[in-house]
C-alpha cells in the first residue's frame, strides 16, 4: 500500500504528523493525524497545593498561559466554594481581554493573514508576515508590534509578568491596579478598538472584495457540518471569561446549555493507540469516528464556533460586525434553526470580530467604577473539596477540574485543553483535503500542501498546548512511499 507522510511542523520538532495511506487504486484509504507528545500534568499536579495550580498550569502553554491561569483560578475558587469580590473578577477579565487582543492580532497578521492577503496561490516564500506587510503597508508592522507590546504591558500590570502571570489566587487577586494604570489600560483599549476596526477593514477590502477568495471560503472543501461549542452569558451572548457552555447542532438547533461543572454529562474523550492526544466528543451523540453531521459527536470549539453558538456579541461595534458576518455568509437559515456558518475558512473573519469585542470589552472593564477598588480578595472559609473552572481559550473551551483533600492538596486533576476540542475536526479537514487532491495515485503536489496548511491554520493549533507554530510559514514535508515503505518521492515547502 502506498503511503504518504506529511510533517506539518517537521518530524524532529515532533508536534504533529500526518500519514496518508492509499488503496490499490491509488485513492485515499485513510489519513492519520498523530500528536507525538505528552508531558503528564494530570499526574504530576497531584500532591501540589491547589493555590499553586494557576502558576503551575501556566506552564502547559506559554502562548496562552493566561487561559490556564484563569481556568485554574476559577477551579480553585470552586474547590474552596468561594466567590471572589467583583473587582477581582473584573481584573481577571480585563487581563484576559488584553490577552485576546494580543493573541488574535498575532494570529491574523502573522499566521492566518498570509493565506488571504498575500493569497493562497502566491509562492510559499511570500506567504508570511513580510508578504502581508508588503501588501498592506510596512507601517502596519509597527502597529502589530505595538498591539503585542501594549497587550503584554497590560498583562504585566495586572498579572505581574508578561508571560506566566502570577496574581490570580483562590478567592481573588493578590494585587490591584492604580488609577494611573487604569487610565493607561483604557487608552490602550481605545487604541485597540481602532486597530480592530482597521483590521476588519483590511479583511473587507482584501478578502471579501475578491470574488475568488470569497468563492474559496464558500467552497465545499473547507466546509464541515459539525456541532459547535462555546461559552455564553445569560443573554446567550458570547463571553470569554465566564458563563455556561452552549452546544449548537449542525442544523442550528440549540442542543443544550450547561454549567461547566456538568461537563462530564456532555463530553467524553475517545482514545486511539497511535497518538498521545485524546479525541473529545459529545457524549449524548456518541463517538462515530471522524465524520461530519448530526449523528456524529464530533464538535468544534473555535472563534467560528463561538459566533455560531451565540445569539450575538455583547458590545455594539462587534454586534454590527456579527450581523454583517451572517448576512454575508448565511443570509437565511438552512432548516429553520439559527443561521450558522459552516465554512471553516470564515474562522479568520470570526477571529477579527472577537478581536473587536475584546477591545470594546477592555474599555468597558477599564472604565468600570469599581476596577480600582482595593477589595480584591475573599478569604475562603469552607473546607476545600472539588471544583471545575472553564474559560474560552482563543483555541477552544478550556476546562480544569480539581479534587483535593481537606488541606487543599490535589488528589486528582482532569484537564480538557483548548486545541484538543478540535483534534477530530482537524483530522477530518486533513482527510478531506487528501481525498479531493489525490486520485489514482496522482498527488496534486502544491495543492495538497496548501490545503493541509490552510486547513490547519484556521484552527490556530497549539498541540497539547505544548508548542505553537507562529508567526511564520508552516514547514511541510510529504514523503510518498511505495508498498515496501521506501520513499519514492519527497515534496516540501518552507523546509
Amino acid at each position: 500500500m502506498e503511503r504518504i507522510t506529511i510533517d506539518p511542523v517537521t518530524r524532529l520538532e515532533g508536534h504533529g504528523k500526518i500519514e496518508i495511506f492509499l488503496d490499490p487504486d491509488g485513492e485515499v484509504a485513510n489519513a492519520y493525524f498523530q500528536i507525538p507528545e505528552l508531558r503528564g500534568f494530570e499526574r504530576f499536579c497531584v500532591g501540589r497545593p491547589v493555590e499553586e495550580m494557576p502558576t503551575l498550569t501556566n506552564r502547559i502553554c506559554g502562548v496562552c498561559p493566561e487561559a490556564h491561569h484563569m481556568a485554574s483560578a476559577k477551579a480553585a475558587d470552586a474547590v474552596y466554594h468561594v466567590d471572589p469580590p467583583r473587582t477581582a473578577k473584573l481584573l481577571r477579565e480585563l487581563l484576559y481581554s488584553a490577552f485576546y487582543v494580543t493573541d488574535h492580532t498575532t494570529h491574523f497578521y502573522a499566521l492566518g493573514g498570509p493565506d488571504f492577503i498575500v493569497g493562497p496561490d502566491a509562492p510559499p516564500a511570500e506567504r508570511n508576515i513580510l508578504g502581508v506587510l508588503a501588501k498592506v503597508g510596512m507601517e502596519v508592522g509597527g502597529q502589530v508590534i505595538q498591539a503585542r507590546k501594549q497587550g503584554h504591558n497590560v498583562i504585566e500590570m495586572i498579572g505581574g509578568r508578561k508571560i506566566h502571570p502570577a496574581t490570580a489566587v483562590p478567592g481573588g487577586m493578590t494585587h490591584g491596579i492604580t488609577e494611573e494604570q487604569r487610565a493607561e489600560i483604557e487608552r490602550i483599549g481605545r487604541w485597540s478598538i481602532e486597530f480592530a476596526q482597521f483590521s476588519l477593514g483590511i479583511f473587507d477590502k482584501m478578502v471579501l472584495g475578491n470574488d475568488a477568495y470569497k468563492e474559496m471560503i464558500l467552497s465545499d472543501g473547507y466546509t464541515h457540518r459539525t456541532y459547535y461549542m462555546g461559552l455564553v452569558d445569560p443573554n446567550n451572548k458570547g463571553n470569554f471569561y465566564d458563563g455556561r457552555v452552549s452546544i449548537m447542532s449542525p442544523d442550528g438547533e440549540r442542543v443544550g446549555t450547561y454549567a461547566p461543572a456538568e461537563y462530564r454529562d456532555w463530553i467524553a474523550e475517545h482514545v486511539e493507540p497511535w497518538t498521545y492526544l485524546k479525541f473529545p466528543y459529545l457524549k449524548k451523540v456518541g463517538w462515530k469516528g471522524l465524520v461530519d453531521g448530526a449523528d456524529s459527536g464530533v464538535y468544534c470549539a473555535t472563534p467560528l464556533s463561538r459566533l455560531n453558538v451565540a445569539e450575538g456579541m455583547a458590545t455594539p461595534l462587534a454586534q454590527a460586525a456579527y450581523e454583517r458576518f451572517y448576512d454575508t455568509l448565511a443570509p437565511k437559515p438552512e432548516s429553520g434553526g439559527k443561521r450558522l456558518v459552516h465554512h471553516r475558512l470564515a474562522t479568520h473573519w470570526a477571529r477579527l470580530i472577537e478581536l473587536l469585542y475584546a477591545a470594546e470589552h477592555m474599555v468597558e472593564l477599564a472604565t468600570d467604577p469599581e476596577i480600582t477598588s482595593p477589595n480584591i480578595r475573599t478569604v475562603p472559609t469552607e473546607k476545600p473539596t472539588e471544583g471545575v473552572g472553564t474559560v474560552e481559550a482563543p483555541r477552544g473551551t478550556l476546562t480544569h477540574h480539581y479534587w483535593t483533600d481537606e488541606r487543599g492538596v490535589l488528589t486528582a486533576v482532569n484537564l480538557l485543553v483548548g486545541t484538543t476540542n478540535n483534534y477530530a475536526p482537524m483530522a477530518m479537514s486533513i482527510k478531506k483535503a487528501a481525498q479531493s487532491l489525490i486520485h489514482k495515485g496522482v498527488v496534486v503536489h502544491q495543492g495538497l500542501l496548501n490545503r493541509v496548511e490552510m486547513a490547519f491554520r484556521l484552527y490556530d493549533p497549539c498541540f497539547g498546548c505544548a508548542t505553537h507554530s507562529f508567526p511564520g510559514e508552516m514547514p511541510l514535508q510529504v514523503a510518498i512511499r511505495n508498498s515496501d515503505g521506501e520513499v519514492i518521492e519527497v515534496l516540501s515547502q518552507n523546509c
Binding site: R39, G62, P273, K283
Partner: protein, 342 residues
C-alpha cells in the same frame, strides 16, 4: 539599524549561524524571544538564523549535512522527554560551537520535571484513564502501532525527564521561566560583542542574562531579622503589607535561594517568588539552600510549634524543588523509576 547590527552586517556567509530549538516545552521561551520586539531585527542582522521552527522556516536536513561545529550558537529550550528530542539535541550539539540551555526546562527541568516523582507507567495510565476518558479497553499509546493500513510510529516517552546537560555538554545557561525579554537581549548582545571581538567571551559554564545574587537582593520589600512561628498559605489571608518582606509575613517565598535577574516581579505584586530563575550563584542544591533559609527565619522549639510551621508547607518537595527536581541531588534516586514494571 543599530550599531550592533551594522558592525556585524555583510553577506550571509560571514555571519555567525544561530539555531533556536524547542524540545518538550510550553512555547513560552519562544514568545519571550519574540517579545524582544524591535531587537528581533538586530538578531536577524547579526546572525544567519538556520533553525527556529516555531517562528520561521528551517531545514532539518540542512542541519544534518552541516559540518560539525558549523553553527556558532544553538539555544535549546524545553526538556528531554522523548527519544526524538534527545536525538535532535545530540545532533545540534555536534553541529554547534556553543550550546545554550535556554530557560528553566532545558537548564533544570522546570515544572514538568515534577513528573520524575512518578513512573512513566503512572503518568501514561493517569492521562488515559481520567474521569472524562472513554477507554473501557484500557488503550495506551503504542510506539509502533499496527493499523489496518500499515505501521504508525510514535516517539518513545522516556522513563525520566532530563535536562539538556544530562544529555549533552552545555556551554552556557540562560535561566528563567521564561527568561525576561530584556535579559534575553542583554545576553544575545553580549554574545554578539564577543563574536565581534568587542567584548569578552564569557567563560564556559557561565550563567548569562541574570545576576549573581538572589531575588531578595533586587526585591524592594524591607527585610528585618524578624522570626516567624508559622507559615501561611496565600489564600488564608486577605493580603500582605506591600512594604515588608513576604517571608517575614509568613508566606513561603523562594527569593532567598533563587538567582536574581527577573527584577523581583512576583513579590512586587504580592505573589511569592516561585523560584523560576533557578539556584542562586554557587548553590549546589536549590532545595537544600531554601530549606536552610527557611530554618533561619523560623522560631519553633516544641513539637507542637514545629508541626504548626510544617502545616504551612503542605507539599515540601514541590515547595523546595518546584522547578529544579530534575537536576537536583534528589535525582540520584531516579534509577528506582527506570524499570517501572511495564
Amino acid at each position: 539599524m543599530s550599531p550592533t547590527a551594522g558592525s556585524t552586517g555583510g553577506a550571509n556567509a560571514t555571519k555567525p549561524k544561530l539555531a533556536i530549538f524547542g524540545a518538550a516545552s510550553c512555547g513560552g521561551c519562544d514568545v519571550a524571544i519574540v517579545n524582544i520586539h524591535e531587537h528581533i531585527v538586530d538578531v536577524a542582522n547579526a546572525f544567519e538564523i538556520v533553525l527556529w521552527p516555531t517562528v520561521m522556516d528551517g531545514k532539518y536536513s540542512d542541519i544534518e549535512t552541516m559540518a560539525d561545529g558549523e553553527i556558532t550558537i544553538t539555544l535549546v529550550s524545553g526538556s528531554m522527554r522523548t527519544d526524538e528530542t534527545v536525538h535532535l539535541s545530540k545532533l545540534l550539539r555536534r553541529k554547534s560551537k556553543f550550546m545554550v540551555a535556554f530557560g528553566s526546562c532545558a537548564s533544570e527541568g522546570c515544572i514538568p520535571g515534577l513528573a520524575n516523582l512518578s513512573s512513566r507507567k503512572q503518568i501514561i495510565d493517569t492521562a488515559f484513564s481520567t474521569t472524562s476518558t472513554d477507554n473501557p479497553d484500557g488503550i495506551r499509546p503504542i510506539w509502533e502501532c499496527e493499523v489496518p493500513e500499515g505501521i504508525l510510529h510514535l516517539p518513545e516517552f522516556e522513563p525520566v525527564l532530563r535536562t539538556l546537560d544530562q544529555v549533552v555538554e552545555v556551554d552556557y545557561t540562560i535561566p528563567g521561566c521564561p527568561p525576561e525579554s530584556n535579559q534575553i537581549w542583554a545576553a544575545l548582545e553580549a554574545v554578539v560583542k564577543a563574536l565581534n571581538g568587542t567584548g569578552p567571551l564569557p567563560p564556559k559554564g557561565s550563567v548569562l542574562g541574570a545576576g549573581d545574587s538572589t531575588v531578595c537582593d533586587e526585591c524592594a520589600r524591607k527585610r528585618d531579622v524578624k522570626k516567624i512561628n508559622r507559615f501561611v498559605r496565600i489564600q488564608q489571608v486577605a493580603g500582605f503589607d506591600p512594604e515588608i518582606c513576604l517571608l517575614e509575613q509568613g508566606l513561603p517565598c523562594n527569593g532567598p535561594a533563587t538567582r536574581n535577574g527577573c527584577g523581583a516581579l512576583c513579590p512586587a505584586v504580592s505573589a511569592p517568588c516561585i523560584g523560576c530563575y533557578g539556584a542562586a550563584e554557587g548553590v549546589i542544591d536549590y532545595g537544600a539552600r531554601l530549606m536552610s533559609a527557611y530554618a533561619s527565619v523560623v522560631e519553633a522549639t516544641t513539637p507542637e510549634e514545629i508541626d504548626k510551621v510544617l502545616d504551612g508547607i503542605p507539599d515540601p518537595v514541590g515547595q523546595f524543588y518546584r522547578f529544579s527536581l530534575a537536576n537536583s541531588l534528589l535525582r540520584s534516586g531516579r534509577s528506582a523509576w527506570q524499570n517501572d514494571g511495564e
